[in-house]
Symmetry: C2
Subunit: 189 residues, 2 copies
DNA sequence: TTCAGTTTTTGCCATTTGGCAAATGTTGTT
DNA sequence: AACAACATTTGCCAAATGGCAAAAACTGAA
């Protein structure tokens, strides 16, 4: 659980006792490739820290196409904030792209932590803000780029991810077809 | 200032004394169309609540093209979180699209409020999370849509905005050229 | 190794979007 | 009204991307 603790410590101070409490609340879950962590239509009641592997968040648009909104890799939290914060049914799926090891916190566990650890809420809101800002900053410029530039930016920001993600998923994340992405890759070599 | 107070009350409770304190910390600023609220390269030290008018956040990409990242209309906060939270130079401009009336809080004023009003931090982090989630939810599906669908979605979500925003800015927000947008509009009528 | 199942690449052509410049329309000022 | 300044539309053509299906490459199990 060292990854998780180190991650949290970036956002606030925790003493040894608090660290032990946090560890005691985390449940380790292993997902096989293509397993779901959460599904559309259900209310999300847990939060996962990705200790190993890659998740993706996806949904189906009105044409029935499967769209990948983003990937979540090691040392990041996965949570459907829309559903978790407001307790409304989720509109998207969280699925394992590769086999994954997750550290999962239930809503009750988080509640306990926030009541016991003074800095907890401030840590969580810092993490929330940072990860949302990252998402906005990553997605926003893509609109102004063409397909090739998007792919290059992706390689640039996530050099280690491109090989671990099937082409079809990456294409849907980039907002282009799989064949176009394949041609772009050929074109770049 | 009623708009501001009503907005804040959606996110937490405030008594009359606290409301007066908040009002006393806000500075009213009027911007003329095309004036800047904040500029790239500078560290952002204030936060604005848009009481009237429309702002936009924009930057210049590596080709020198001006890109509009998003619009901020009445009853929303404008803040460059990257710059304000981490005190680093901003990479974008916040500019008035129309004449605007803003209620501005300095970093010091916000600090005072957070020390005096117990619920303040929780209100602010709820607002921050909500507005970031909205941005992600708005931008993210656009990647999977073609130009026409993006424009229609925009009309759908912001029917009142389209007429108030110059075509060139809307086009750069949608990630398409002005001529394409013009053709799309003709096509739709 | 072989085979079936899956993923990726490719060819062909249609459609969408961009680039550029000229024409047209709009707005505000004198 | 007349003009300048600015915004929008349009025509023409080139480039980018999509759609579809077949071929090729890859993967894992027997």
């Amino acid at each position: 659980m060292e990854n998780l603790i180190n991650y949290l410590l970036q956002f606030g101070q925790l003493n040894q006792q608090q660290i032990e409490l946090i560890k005691s609340k985390a449940k380790v879950i292993e997902l096989k490739k293509e397993d779901y962590f959460s599904e559309a239509g259900k209310i999300s009641r847990q939060v996962a820290f990705v200790d190993g592997g890659i998740l993706r968040v996806c949904y189906y648009n009105n044409k029935g196409e499967e769209i990948t909104r983003y990937f979540i890799d090691e040392n990041n939290f996965a949570v459907d904030l829309n559903s978790f914060s407001y307790q409304i049914p989720s509109s998207e799926y969280v699925q394992a792209v590769t086999d994954c090891k997750l550290l999962v916190f239930s809503a009750e566990a988080l509640k306990d932590l926030s009541l016991t650890i003074i800095a907890w809420n401030s840590i969580i809101s810092a993490i929330t803000a940072k990860s949302l800002i990252e998402k906005v900053n990553r997605i926003s410029p893509m609109l102004a780029e063409d397909a090739k530039a998007r792919y290059i930016s992706f390689l640039d920001k996530f050099p280690q991810l491109a090989n671990r993600i099937p082409l079809s998923l990456l294409a849907s994340y980039l907002g282009i077809t799989q064949s176009s992405l394949s041609r772009i890759r050929k074109n770049i070599r």
